[in-house]
């Protein structure tokens, strides 16, 4: 086991949203709002906790019925109201840590709506995950955010 076992990658996802920055930011900042879109499919019965302040923690725990538990544990590093959220998070599958990431969310005014730019700089550990899968999963999450905002 002398092989290097961590791969690093960055991906960027941009979304134009028909909602002003304050509304988009609130979907991240308000625990009740974030719980409506953030997490796995409904059958995962995800449990969500968050303390939205610099140094505060967030967790989301759940998984397919009878399957392995997925746990996201994050920490907020920088928050600028209506503009920016920076967090690091790690992902566990069962007892195995599969990745550590730095995620930045930028929200910019765009006409009557907003432009959201999410950049994830990730370290994927020991071959359990990769940037392609993570980007796909994150695109689904941001799709859920958009559905929530439009509802």
């Amino acid at each position: 086991m002398s092989q290097r076992n961590t791969t690093h990658a960055t991906f960027v996802i941009e979304r134009e949203l028909a909602h002003p920055p304050a509304k988009v930011f609130a979907a991240y900042a308000d625990p009740n709002k974030k719980a409506k879109w953030f997490g796995g499919p409904p059958e995962w019965n995800s449990e969500h906790t968050m303390d939205f302040r610099v140094g505060g923690k967030e967790t989301s725990t759940g998984g397919p019925p009878g399957g392995v538990v997925h746990k996201m544990s994050g920490e907020y590093w920088d928050i600028i109201e209506n503009e920016r959220i920076v967090m690091s998070y790690e992902l566990h599958l069962g007892a195995t840590r599969i990745s550590v990431s730095l995620g930045t969310t930028e929200i910019k005014p765009n006409g009557a709506g907003s432009k959201l730019i999410y950049t994830e700089q990730g370290a994927y550990l020991d071959g359990y995950d990769d940037a392609g899968q993570r980007e796909e999963g994150t695109r689904e999450l941001l799709g859920q955010l958009e559905t929530y905002l439009n509802s």
Binding site: S2, Q3, R4, N5, T6, H8, T10, E75, W77, D78, I80, E83, R84, V86, S88, E90, R97, V100, S101, L102, T104, E106, K108, T119, Q121, G122, A123, L125
Partner: protein, 150 residues
């Protein structure tokens, strides 16, 4: 309007020491104080040091004539003698200037150890922290060799 500049910097070094010895130079805060100082006129003081997963370090980088740079680290992944992953931010004066994810990996190579350092940096509001990381860590990794010179 705020902006974020993202960058990734990778550095590699080979040290004449075992992975256990190189790892110990990272886990031991007294050793880190010696080698992580990039230049002689800069001093580093630790206000907190807690080397375990979930533990935090707070260090103050003091340079005459400049506001202090205060770095807060959260250790996330620690594999003894193999790997270290931590997140940190840097506050300069009153302003948070960056957040970064830093991975350090050690690979044995004959009687030596190959070290790879990968810094994934988000620099805020044109703070130019990419060049700060480049300069500071390049000098620190060179200094680290001196820990093993005897």
């Amino acid at each position: 309007m705020t902006t974020i500049a993202h960058a990734t910097i990778a550095m590699e070094r080979t040290y004449s020491a075992s992975p256990a010895r190189v790892f110990a130079a990272w886990s031991d805060v007294e050793a880190r104080k010696r080698w992580s100082t990039p230049t002689d006129n800069i001093r580093i003081e630790y206000e907190a040091a807690d080397f375990r997963e979930g533990g935090k370090d707070v260090s103050r980088c003091i340079e005459p004539g400049n506001a202090d740079y205060v770095a807060t680290v959260t250790y996330i992944d620690i594999r003894q003698d193999r790997r270290l992953v931590f997140a940190e931010d840097v506050v300069h004066g009153e302003k948070r200037v960056s957040a970064a994810l830093i991975s350090m990996e050690l690979t044995p190579k004959d009687a030596h150890t190959h070290l790879t350092l990968t810094m994934q940096i988000a620099s805020f509001d044109e703070a130019g922290m990419e060049s700060g990381y480049q300069f500071g860590w390049s000098a620190a990794l060179d200094n680290l060799a001196k820990e093993f010179s005897q």
